[in-house]
C-alpha cells in the first residue's frame, strides 16, 4: 500500500515543482503502532530541490508542499517530513 503512496507523492511533487532532485523515503514501519499512526496514514520523508522554492521562507515552502499533496494529507499521509531547497542551497 505504501509503495503506491510513494508513487502518488512522487507524481504530485513532480507535476507541481519540476524538481531537480527528489527523494522520498517511506518511514511508516518505524512508527507502526504508535498513537498517531492508528488512522492508517503513512510517515514519509521528502527531500526536494526545485527552483520554485527560491526566495520563499521555510513556512511558505512547507505550505506549498502540503498544498501539492491536497486531500492526501487528510487520509494517506499522517506525517510528512520535508526538506525543501532551492537549487543554489542544495
Amino acid at each position: 500500500m505504501n509503495e503506491n503512496r510513494v508513487a502518488m507523492i512522487r507524481e504530485k511533487l513532480t507535476t507541481t515543482f519540476a524538481p531537480t532532485e527528489l527523494d522520498i523515503e517511506d518511514d511508516s514501519a518505524k512508527h507502526a503502532g504508535h498513537a498517531g499512526a492508528r488512522s492508517g496514514g503513512g510517515h514519509f520523508n521528502v527531500r526536494i530541490v526545485s527552483a520554485e522554492f527560491s526566495g520563499k521562507s521555510l513556512v511558505e515552502r512547507h505550505r506549498m508542499v502540503y498544498a501539492a499533496m491536497g486531500d492526501a494529507m487528510q487520509s494517506d499521509i499522517h506525517a510528512l517530513s520535508i526538506q525543501a531547497k532551492s537549487p543554489d542551497e542544495a
Binding site: 512508527h31 498513537a35 512547507h62 502540503y66 494529507m73 506525517a79 517530513s81 520535508i82
Partner: protein, 111 residues
C-alpha cells in the same frame, strides 16, 4: 468562546506556544516530542496546548494556519513551523534567539 477565538487567544497571549500531541512531559508523538524538546532547550518558559485533549482545536487548528499537521509552534503570534522547521532553526541557533527575544518582549510589555 468560539474555537477559532480560543486558538487566536492561545497564539496571541503567549510569547511562545506549541500545539502538540500530548504534553512536553508526556508527548504522544515523536514529532511533538522533538519539537517540544527543542523549545525546552531554548531555556525559556513556553505554553503548550495538548490537541489530543481538545478535539475542537485538533479539528480546527489546521485551517487556522493553513497548516495540516501537528505540532505547530507559534512565536510572537506567528507560525514558525512544524517539527522540521523548528529543529532546523534550533540547529542553526535561530530558534534560541527568536524565543529569547519573544519572551523578553512579552516580559517588557507586562511590566
Amino acid at each position: 468562546m468560539d474555537v477559532m477565538d480560543r486558538i487566536k487567544d492561545a497564539v496571541e497571549s503567549n510569547a511562545v506556544v506549541i500545539f502538540m500531541k500530548g504534553t512536553p512531559q508526556m508527548p504522544q508523538c515523536g514529532f511533538s516530542s522533538r519539537a517540544s524538546q527543542a523549545l525546552s532547550a531554548c531555556g525559556e518558559e513556553f505554553a503548550y496546548v495538548n490537541v489530543l485533549a481538545d478535539p475542537e482545536v485538533f479539528q480546527n487548528l489546521p485551517r487556522y494556519a493553513n497548516w495540516p499537521t501537528f505540532p505547530q509552534v507559534y512565536i510572537n503570534g506567528e507560525l514558525v513551523g512544524g517539527c522540521d522547521i523548528t529543529l532546523e532553526m534550533f540547529q542553526k541557533g535561530e530558534l534560541q534567539k527568536l524565543v529569547k527575544d519573544a519572551v523578553a518582549k512579552s516580559g517588557a510589555k507586562a511590566s
